[in-house]
């Protein structure tokens, strides 16, 4: 266990940035999101939840897959170069780290998504334990401990100090690189903090949310429930929940004509959109109820069915905070709970 004064963190950022890209929560125009660290960046470790999850460090909202270029009637195809430089993501919370674990199940299973895999190989995750959990948090429901996140390095903020504990080889390597910035620390302080966080978490309004009835079996039992017809009504069919979600992984592949060629890129898509997976004959899911059901059934039934019971919700509560209609996964889970 090591520690560094929070006042010295800029030196730490600068050191990391000397040799690799550093992504961390940056405040810009009133909102905090993960962004590339730059000298004048306003780093914000106090805001519990960034608007977007840090998933787009590994799975960018848009990324070019390859480019086509036509000259003299001949077509050349240039694949986009894969990420080949190490980088660090600093300040990921427990739920977001678990979000990456969910994405790993999708993108790292065969066939492996090489773009994602390259970023995972080169990225070092420095997780940060939650300081002040929010009303909308319910990560514990999914077995996540916000006081002790997973990650290559785990950190805690205690008073004027950041405690640093490397967990993996990547974490040790990063720690070695930065070693002179740290001083040794006492684990007991961190343990106190963990206890305090866990005490708060217990008091959270959604701490007792029951997932009973969800999981693989829900695919059969809950698909045809009339509750969906009621639940979806306020849904505006926007993609806010999807785009702030740390686990949503659907994307669309499109071509962009740059004038001198075509860039084939992929970008996040939302199953809430009416043009999601649009085909010549129309949509697979013709009504918003179906689209709405899909999103929650996927998180709570289909995904666990295919991934050893792991839910593809991590309880970060972003959708709870951001839905324009105050509709969210908690209300969905509770609505079925009531029915039971």
């Amino acid at each position: 266990m090591l520690k560094i004064k929070t006042a010295d963190l800029p030196a730490l950022y600068e050191r990391i940035a000397q040799s690799q890209d550093l992504f961390l929560p940056v405040r810009s125009a009133g909102q905090t999101d993960f962004a590339l660290w730059q000298k004048d960046a306003q780093v914000d470790l106090d805001t519990l939840k960034t608007v977007k999850s840090p998933k787009d460090v590994f799975f960018p909202q848009s990324e070019t897959l390859y480019s086509c270029h036509r000259e003299d009637g001949k077509l050349s195809v240039t694949p986009e170069e894969l990420c080949d430089k190490p980088f660090v993501v600093f300040g990921m919370k427990a739920c977001d780290v678990q979000g990456i674990a969910v994405l790993d199940k999708v993108f790292l299973s065969e066939p492996v998504d090489s773009y994602y895999a390259a970023r995972r190989t080169h990225g070092t995750i420095v997780a940060l334990a939650c300081g002040r959990p929010e009303t909308s948090c319910f990560c514990t429901v999914f077995g996540i401990d916000p006081a002790a996140p997973e990650g290559d390095v785990v950190t805690w903020m205690v008073d004027q100090w950041l405690y640093w504990d490397a967990k993996t080889d990547k974490g040790f390597a990063l720690t070695d690189f930065l070693h002179d910035l740290f001083e040794p620390a006492d684990e007991s302080t961190v343990e106190q903090v963990k206890t305090a966080i866990r005490a708060i978490v217990k008091k959270l309004p959604y701490a007792d949310l029951s997932l009973e009835g969800w999981g693989a079996q829900a695919a059969d039992t809950r698909f045809d429930s009339p509750i969906w017809e009621q639940l979806y009504k306020p849904c505006l069919a926007c993609g806010t929940c999807t785009f702030v979600c740390p686990t949503c992984q659907c994307y669309d592949i499109k071509d962009y004509d740059t004038g001198s060629g075509v860039q084939r890129y992929r970008c996040w898509d939302s199953c809430m959109y009416s043009d999601f997976t649009m085909m010549a004959h129309g949509n697979n899911r013709t009504s918003q109820m179906q689209r709405f059901r899909q999103r929650f059934m996927h998180k709570l039934a289909y995904f666990p069915a295919n991934n050893d019971g792991v839910f593809s919700c991590v309880g970060c509560g972003r959708c709870v905070d951001k839905c324009p209609s105050h509709l969210n996964i908690v209300k969905v889970i509770k609505a079925f709970g009531k029915e039971d």
């Binding site: 125009a29 999101d33 977007k52 505006l236 926007c238 702030v244 890129y265 509709l327 209300k331």
Partner: protein
């Protein structure tokens, strides 16, 4: 609130209306959701408080396709949107029973700058307090009602309902700032400052389409940005251009139709002040073509579907004739 429920029950029970469109109690006081109530029994979850900011007009497009009448509660500012939708033949006035519900300003939970909010006292209707008492996981705090109000309530269009069958509850005109002050402040900037301002705001955009989908004016069956007819179906978030294209065109498409209900800014997950685009057009329209408030009169000629021979030339922009006006 009880009065609303009583009236809704009566209308349901008399068969006058088939359903009620209102707001439903959420998990907390600050997260009520728009909801259809089919029975008097269901109305037990009905709620109307300071957090019922959602404009229900747009849901009336779907309601118009249903059998029978729908009772809808519209706040004064929501009623403008309904009139505009009437003008565009998107809602059926005959199939709506409109209760104009009073409003004393709606609240934004985001503006209550507190972590771990559990409950808020003083946000009820009609009894609201000048000061809200906020219980949080980390203790109690207070915030004045005014400071917690949505941006749009500070430029409230007034207490009048533009359309309704009956009215329940008192309203307060909560306007306390100049509707166009923010626009004028940007107009006064240098081009570089303007560009930097919008660049930093729009770069936050995640293309979630919440602003579009909540907007009662953006009620197209299929948005141009989702249609293949314009080759404009980009969803990329790679360059700064697409957000500009999207927000400029969206504002242009609702120019002269936007009632300035402020829903776009309310719902933006990134807190982008999207109303500035619409309000810029409203300001320009007012100064160029005469005062026009969309949603007042369903028969009025809209600014972009009418003209006069003496209209200003587009060169007025380069000549600076539209700034600081």
């Amino acid at each position: 609130m009880q009065e609303l429920i009583t009236r809704a029950k009566a209308l349901l029970e008399s068969g006058e209306v088939q359903r009620v469109l209102g707001w439903k109690q959420g998990e907390h006081i600050y997260d009520p959701e728009p909801a259809f109530f089919d029975s008097a029994e269901a109305l037990k979850d009905f709620v109307y408080n300071g957090f019922c900011g959602a404009n229900l007009s747009k849901y009336m497009i779907e309601a118009a396709k249903l059998e029978g009448k729908t009772l809808v509660f519209l706040k004064p500012c929501d009623s403008y949107s309904f009139v505009q939708l009437m003008k565009e033949h998107r809602v059926d006035r005959e199939k709506a029973h409109i209760i104009g519900v009073g409003c004393k300003g709606k609240l934004s939970v985001n503006k209550i700058d507190a972590d771990g909010i559990l409950d808020i006292q003083g946000a009820g209707y009609p009894d609201c307090a000048d000061t809200l008492t906020v219980d949080t996981l980390y203790g109690q705090t207070t915030v004045s009602y005014k400071d917690a109000m949505l941006e749009r309530c500070h430029v409230c269009k007034g207490k009048e309902h533009m359309v309704c069958d009956e009215q329940i509850g008192e309203s307060a005109d909560t306007a306390d700032s100049d509707r166009f002050a923010q626009v004028a402040a940007i107009e006064a900037m240098s081009p570089e400052e303007k560009f930097a301002f919008f660049q930093s705001e729009l770069s936050k955009c995640i293309r979630c389409n919440a602003c579009r989908n909540v907007c009662p004016a953006c009620s197209c069956r299929k948005c141009v940005f989702d249609s293949t007819k314009f080759d404009s179906t980009q969803k990329a978030n790679t360059t700064s251009f697409e957000e500009k294209m999207f927000h400029i065109i969206r504002a242009f498409h609702v120019a002269g139709r936007c009632t300035d209900c402020g829903e776009c800014s309310r719902v933006c997950p990134q807190g982008i002040p999207l109303h500035l685009f619409n309000r810029k057009f409203i300001k320009d329209i007012n100064s160029l073509y005469g005062e026009y408030q969309a949603g007042v009169d369903a028969q009025a000629k809209a600014p972009l579907t009418s003209f006069t021979q003496e209209d200003a030339e587009p060169s007025i922009v380069a000549e600076g004739g539209l700034t600081h006006a």
